[in-house]
């Protein structure tokens, strides 16, 4: 009689323990599986790279298609504006007669300093910092942003 009464809680304990263990194991497995989707190594160009020496850039605006960047030069002052539209990430075109950037995807227009002037783009184009590498090349860090009107003077 008393033996029987003892057995019930033990069974109950094992049952609950077993179920909890299964659920925990499933969650751990699912978590691990999902983690596999987050890349740990990126096979893409680094976000900080050399773009060339100051003399490579003429007065005015130069577009670097492989980096999707505009390099501005006025005399000794340089700055870098991203060509990636802030709406849905298409690449903008520079219109030299209007002195504006046009996005061909949904028609956003940005002024020369990157401010969003028209269309669906919700934010201005990003500005990125410049620095010098020891070999005299410019280095751009697209992982960082700087305030508008930042200027790198050589």
């Amino acid at each position: 009689m008393s033996e029987k009464e003892d057995k019930v809680p033990r069974r109950f304990f094992l049952e609950v323990f077993g179920k909890v263990a299964v659920v925990v194991a499933l969650f751990a497995e699912a978590f691990g599986a999902l983690k596999a989707f987050i890349p740990q190594v990126l096979y893409e160009p680094p976000s900080k790279f050399k773009i060339g020496k100051p003399d490579d850039f003429p007065e005015g605006i130069t577009f670097l298609p492989e980096h999707k960047l505009y390099i501005f030069r006025s005399g000794r002052g340089f700055h870098v504006v991203s060509a990636i539209c802030t709406h849905l990430k298409c690449v903008t075109d520079w219109n030299s007669s209007q002195r504006e950037f046009y996005c061909s995807c949904h028609g956003s227009v940005f002024s020369e300093n990157g401010a969003n002037a028209e269309g669906p783009a919700p934010r201005p184009l990003s500005w990125h910092p410049l620095s010098f590498a020891p070999d005299g090349n410019f280095v751009v860090d697209t992982g960082k942003k700087v305030e508008r009107y930042y200027k790198f003077t050589i």
């Binding site: 709406h87 669906p120 934010r123």
Partner: protein, 433 residues
């Protein structure tokens, strides 16, 4: 000899032209391929005019897509360097490759449209009520899967269309608050579109999404049986019961004789007799074969008449002018382009409002609609029942709004997404920066 061959055929397949009711039901019950069908089918459900067979056409399109896709899989190379050129080879070198590819692409476009019209049919016949609400939900999932399947396929050729459609679509995903950037990162397998993005969409397209479709499709069919057939059966049960035909006490084959009483399946089998139904084999099976045949011919003719092309190879530096998503996404692209709002100095991106919030609301509406629907039971299984006029109008307006946005996106948006009437010509555009 002929007898023997016939017997062999019957053992391998089914009793094609059964001599008795018993043979007819055995033909279904004892056959692996047919066991998911009832042994008798109501004339109403079999008719062309109730369901327009849109669900069957969707399934046939899926079969065609799976077969043509499987063949393409042998010659397609999922690498960003080779994908485009393997597509070129499919078009120009592989014998009948262009036909396979065109048929695959046409079937994919048709499938999105047909699945949508199937949903519209279900709505107008109030076939999503009560026990059928599960199939409504499974159907919504199948619709979303169909669109994702089609989109992930669109990415595979890695041409300009693919590259910029993927840019825009993952740009929309990135607008989701909090997790957006992480989701984009996981979808692309990095910060930029590259090899890891292509392989992800390749696996999604060729294994993950089709497998989900197959599983959900099986559930979809099983639910139809559980729910007592198509919605028009509810009317039949109602009308027959009101004529007070006594239920035969000797009938035992309801649910294969396992159960009795008034489950919906029992009610269904009880009222089906010679006057309102026919044997599934060969009446239903023949029709399904006919629908498959016609669907195959239609996709073949479209593929022969309008072989599909390729754009330029993907070029990350040059966005084509204009860059458009596939047509079934253009209503979203249109919304993302026109819904950016500015409050004070802050802007809320159209990517969030038009790309996530508005479609999210539509999805939510589809989920709660069965519970908002207060029309009487008599409306179930009837096209445009008069008690449903208001909700039918609301639904039609939503559908027409989506369709008009698609038409505007396809025909009236030119360079820089500017509005042009179809008869206005677009200005000359420089092709490169």
């Amino acid at each position: 000899m002929k007898e023997r061959l016939l017997l062999l055929w019957r053992n391998l397949t089914w009793t094609w032209a059964p001599d008795s009711n018993r043979q007819a039901s055995e033909a279904v019950v004892k056959n692996f391929w047919l066991h998911w069908f009832p042994s008798r089918i109501s004339l109403r459900g079999l008719g062309w005019g109730f369901s327009f067979w849109l669900g069957t056409i969707s399934a046939c399109l899926f079969v065609i897509l799976a077969l043509t896709g499987l063949l393409l899989l042998f010659v397609y190379i999922p690498s960003i360097r080779d994908a485009y050129w393997s597509m070129k080879d499919i078009d120009n070198v592989v014998v009948f490759g262009w036909l396979l590819r065109s048929q695959h692409r046409w079937a994919a476009q048709l499938m999105v449209a047909v699945v949508f019209f199937h949903l519209v049919r279900v709505f107008f016949t109030a076939a999503y009520r009560d026990q059928r609400v599960w199939n409504w939900y499974i159907g919504i999932a199948l619709f979303v899967l169909t669109i994702f399947l089609s989109f992930s396929g669109y990415v595979l050729p890695w041409d300009q269309l693919a590259y910029w459609a993927l840019t825009i679509a993952t740009g929309i995903a990135a607008e989701l608050p909090f997790f957006g950037e992480d989701i984009r990162f996981a979808l692309l397998g990095g910060n930029i579109l590259g090899q890891s993005s292509l392989i992800r969409f390749f696996v999604l397209h060729n294994f993950f999404l089709p497998a989900l479709v197959v599983i959900l499709f099986a559930l979809h069919m099983w639910r139809i049986r559980k729910d007592g057939g198509l919605a028009c059966m509810d009317r039949l049960i109602h009308e027959t019961k009101s004529k007070k035909i006594p239920v035969s006490p000797t009938k035992t084959y309801s649910l294969l004789g396992v159960t009795e009483g008034t489950t919906i399946q029992a009610a269904t089998t009880e009222i089906l007799d010679e006057s309102n139904s026919v044997r599934t084999s060969p009446n239903l099976t023949r029709r399904i074969a006919l629908v498959l045949l016609v669907t195959t011919i239609a996709t073949l003719v479209l593929a022969l008449a309008f072989p599909v092309g390729l754009e330029e190879p993907a070029n990350p530096a040059v966005t084509p002018i204009p860059a458009k998503a596939p047509w079934y996404f253009l209503w979203l692209q249109e919304l993302t382009a026109i819904t950016t709002i500015k409050i004070g100095g802050k802007s809320i991106s159209g990517g969030l409002i038009g790309g996530i919030i508005i479609p999210g609301i539509l999805g939510l509406l589809a989920v709660v609609w069965p519970f908002l629907d207060r029309s009487p039971k008599e409306a179930i299984g009837v096209w445009f029942h008069k008690t449903r006029n208001t909700q039918n109008i609301v639904f039609t307006i939503i559908c027409l709004a989506v369709i008009s946005l698609i038409i505007i996106g396809v025909y009236m948006r030119g360079p820089y997404w500017k509005f042009y009437w179809p008869w206005q010509s677009w200005p000359e555009m420089p092709t490169l920066f």
